[in-house]
């Protein structure tokens, strides 16, 4: 019974549209792969921003990111910004070859467990879709086939489409 209850609570927690506008906690400047330092304000898009916490050997990140990259490709010229934040410093060296291998072009920032703790992350990937001012429109954790359709729907809505 307890297992069932935990499963239900976890499933409900996985996809949570945010009804009231909550601000995404600004992160301190994080280093990008090119060495530049970027804050949340630097990465906010004209209309919407998708912030994704990940690490390169995360299985569900590897399942989700080909689809997330497609969303970036489709909407980046329409006002969508995207940033992927690595939360495991010991995997930083893997990121460049991993991006090249998969053809990922979404910008990456180098975070750590403290950043993950700031957002009380428990699992990866965890997505936060923000509006132009940084208010959270929706969050999504984990990945199942088809989740990208929900994500794309939310992105289109955020872009006013």
């Amino acid at each position: 019974m307890r297992v069932l209850l935990v499963a239900i609570v976890t499933a409900l927690a996985a996809l949570q549209p945010v009804t009231a506008a909550e601000s995404f906690k600004p992160f301190k400047k994080l280093k990008g792969l090119d060495g530049s330092q970027q804050s949340l304000g630097d990465v906010l898009g004209r209309k919407a921003t998708l912030v994704v916490f990940f690490f390169p050997t995360c299985p569900y990140c590897n399942a989700a990111f080909p689809e997330v990259q497609k969303i970036y490709d489709r909407y980046k010229d329409q006002g969508l910004s995207m940033v992927w934040i690595n939360v495991l410093p010991d995997e930083e060296k893997l990121i460049a070859p991993w991006r090249a291998q998969h053809g990922y072009t979404a910008p990456v920032l180098l975070g750590n467990r403290a950043v993950a703790n700031d957002y009380e992350l428990r699992m990866t990937p965890t997505h936060f879709l923000l509006d132009a001012k940084g208010a959270v429109l929706s969050t999504h954790a984990g990945y199942s086939a088809g989740d990208e359709k929900t994500l794309e729907r939310d992105v289109r809505q955020a872009l006013g489409q």
Binding site: V3, A7, V9, T10, A11, A13, A14, Q16, E22, S23, F24, K25, T57, C58, P59, Y60, C61, N62, A63, A64, V87, L88, R113, A116, Y119, E120, L121, R122, M123, T124, T126, F128, V136, T139, A141, G142, Y143, S144, A145
Partner: protein, 166 residues
């Protein structure tokens, strides 16, 4: 400001004191009973750390040989000990990771890891003239997933005080 979304990770629950021979701990993803024996270490001797790990329902952890982070026992970098040989693993099962249609060596049922540990003679060690307490610090490192989520990697601290004897 944004608060908790998916839910905070519970810290490991320790059910025996750190001086004991067996440490029993539970996280959201698994339980572990880690035993160190013997608790006396003569010159040239070894101790055996056995970690009996039980993944919780629906959870799996990765085994060596997968491209993901494998479960393992690590000694603290500052430890005066070293592994005498690679950690012993049982044969893993094959987990089918449906989103990528791949089979991955993993454990989803109880299993044991065994580490043979000796004093690291490359580090300055004073041979005791009388029994001397020495702290052995290690950790059980793992990353667990279920059929929808991968949880952040965890490191469960393990610590015993053993007696180094002349």
């Amino acid at each position: 400001m944004l608060g908790l979304r998916p839910g905070a990770q519970s810290p490991p629950q320790v059910s025996s004191n750190l001086q004991g021979r067996t440490l029993s701990m539970s996280t959201d993803q698994l339980t572990v009973a880690a035993t160190l024996a013997p608790l006396q270490l003569p010159p040239g001797g070894r101790v055996t750390l056995t970690a009996a790990v039980t993944p919780k329902a629906g959870m799996h952890v990765y085994a060596p040989g997968s491209r993901y982070r494998a479960v393992g026992i690590k000694l603290a970098a500052t430890s005066p000990f070293r592994l005498e040989a690679p950690v012993e693993y049982p044969k893993p099962g094959l987990y089918t990771f449906k989103p990528l249609n791949e089979q991955v060596p993993a454990y989803d049922a109880p299993f044991r890891l065994i580490a043979q540990i000796v004093l690291d003679t490359s580090k300055p060690i004073v041979t005791p003239r009388r029994p001397l307490p020495v702290t052995l610090k290690a950790s059980l490192d793992y990353q667990a997933c279920d059929n929808r989520f991968c949880y952040l990697p965890e490191s469960i601290p393990l610590q015993w005080t053993i007696t180094s004897t002349p």
